[in-house]
Amino acid sequence: MADGRANPWPEAARLLVLGALGLLFLMPYLWMVSASLKPLDEIFRASLNLIPEGGGTLRNYARVLAEVPVLQYLWNGVVVCGGILFFQLLFAVPAGYAIAKLDFPGRDWMFGAVMLGLLVPYHVPALPLYVAFSWIGWLNTFAALIVPSVISVFAIFLFRQFFKALPDELIHAARIDGMNELSIVWRVILPNALPAATAFAIFSVVAHWNDLFWPLIAVTGHDRATPALAILYYRSEEAGDDFGALMAASAIMTAPLVLAFLVAQRRFVEGIATTGLKG
């Protein structure tokens, strides 16, 4: 009765249940890493040992690193996600602030358009965008991967909500101090937008690093493949036989975000939770 909330099960039991469920939940990761460290014949023997016999082998990783331009793909992922995030913030932060705090003609229409835009999944404009990009020869470029996501109505919505909660006095004080509108944005608004920007950044990077649909459409060939596409290609080229190498490749491509998450856990979770609750 530590805080007056009696629970039917003692805490030890609950920990046990959660521990068991958690372990089951981690099975894909455990087996992925396990298989990536096993030689092919051991995989095919289908033993239930998570630990590879004889200490395991790095052959699979060596093969993947030799055959697959891993760094290139990871770099593509970084460029694409970074580029998208950069432009999303560049466009959405000022817009969100303006809609939240400034009075200008068309403001309410704009907010309505933002809300409407939230309803439309990105797969809808994807087709015509593909056609347009194909006409101007932008397929298979970073531009094709980055440009469509540059407008994020979700970001505008989020920042608008955030700025609306910012006290007006902050801006009034800046005006009294003699700042013009541009200075206010640069000196007062941007620094204060950091928490919301961080939350959104996590949300955006995770979404775009993991995205398959648009890269699959916009990119063919290996030059501009994102990590998600890279796995897809490797699968078809491996014809699904060398599971060891496949698991190694999967582990490599998944690792960056997972590691980032484990390091900055609270940020990630808060980011998703706050963007979720505000939405």
């Binding site: 909330r5 805490e11 609950r14 920990l15 959660l18 981690l26 099975m27 894909p28 087996w31 992925m32 298989a35 095919f44 023997r45 289908a46 033993s47 239930l48 000022p94 817009a95 303006a98 400034l102 200008f104 403001r107 704009m110 309803l119 999944p121 797969h123 809808v124 404009p125 087709l127 015509p128 593909y130 347009a132 469509p148 009034h172 005006r175 009294i176 944005v185 993991n210 398959l212 649909f213 990590p227 998600a228 796995i231 699904g240 698991m247 999967s250 582990a251 491509m253 998944t254 975000l257 997972v258 980032a260 998450f261 484990l262 856990q265 939770a273 706050t274 979720g276 609750l277 939405g279």
Partner: protein
């Protein structure tokens, strides 16, 4: 500064001030507006229009055919299967991942230690590359070399070919979908649970509420209302948009048993290049998503916010 001047500076009252504010507002929203029109509005309208044409990529001409695409959809058995599969998939994944996440959230929130650890464990799939994890699942569920069937073999059961048998493929994908979705919902529920004021639980206890179930009914569930609503909406929409695992693992097969809407949109548009037809399916998809959103705002939103 004399009072009057200070008051003026608060909100530009002068025409020049107001004009400056208007100009600033328009300039600040200009990049967003432009990209909205070019990258969102125009393509969406184009997609809507495309749905009423017979456009095919690389075709020399484009013809307006009215509702013919939709008529074809109504007859298209493949589309009907895809629609049905999507609804079945959502019907399994959404309730299971919502209820499961709620149960986990209640368990985790009641702990005094280790919350962050468990939260991280279940949240991991959300930040993991779906394509890669789908591949890992493929290994796990492999009929001959996969650990799941190996375990079943050890206890004498012959495990089915999870991802290659039309009887079990949708179920397997749904299971993977639940696994992927639970962590996200869990975090949202945890946030909602911790937002419930502690004193309310205490008040219930003092009022005589003894069983956990009754406290859940009196305090937790009602105050979780807005969160639950949001989780339901988000989960429905995210599960309707399922694509990655199908594209990677089954390509809609065997025999369309795992074909889902987004995958059909993809194949019609980019394997068969029937962009007009694909656009028509996309329109159906959009209508479904809109309907789900409408459900949230109209029907449930008012009941769930208590002022």
């Amino acid at each position: 500064m004399p009072m009057s001047e200070a008051a003026v500076a608060l909100r530009p009252r002068s025409r020049a001030g107001r004009q400056g504010e208007s100009l600033a507002g328009l300039l600040l929203t200009l990049p967003a507006s432009l990209s909205y029109i070019v990258l969102l509005l125009a393509p969406t309208l184009a997609a809507v229009l495309l749905a009423f044409t017979d456009y095919e990529l690389g075709a020399p001409s484009i013809r307006w055919i009215g509702l013919e695409n939709f008529a074809e959809l109504a007859e298209d058995r493949g589309f009907q299967v895809s629609l049905r599969n999507t609804l079945v998939y959502v019907g399994i994944v959404a309730p299971a991942s919502i209820a499961g996440a709620l149960a986990l959230a209640l368990l985790i929130e009641s702990l005094t230690r280790g919350r962050a650890l468990f939260r991280a464990v279940f949240f991991l799939p959300v930040v993991s590359l779906p394509v890669a994890m789908a591949t890992a699942w493929q290994y796990l569920l492999h009929p001959t070399i996969g650990p799941v069937n190996a375990l079943l073999r050890d206890i004498g059961i012959a495990g089915p070919a999870w991802l290659t048998s039309s009887d079990t493929v949708l179920l397997s994908l749904a299971f993977i979908g639940i696994w992927e979705a639970i962590g996200f919902n869990l975090v949202l529920f945890l946030a909602g649970l911790t937002a419930i004021p502690r004193e309310l639980h205490h008040a219930a206890e003092v009022d005589g509420v003894k069983s956990t179930w009754e406290r859940f009914r009196l305090v937790t569930w009602p105050l979780l209302g807005p969160t639950t609503l949001f989780v339901v909406t988000i989960t429905l929409i995210r599960s309707v948009r399922t694509f990655d695992s199908v594209a990677v693992l089954t390509q809609g097969g065997p025999n369309r048993a795992s074909e889902v809407l987004l995958y059909t949109i993809y194949t019609e548009g980019f394997t068969f290049f029937r962009l007009g037809y694909s656009a028509a399916i996309t329109l159906v998809f959009l209508v479904i998503v809109l309907a789900l959103m409408l459900l949230q705002t109209r029907v449930l939103d008012k009941r769930v916010h208590y002022g």
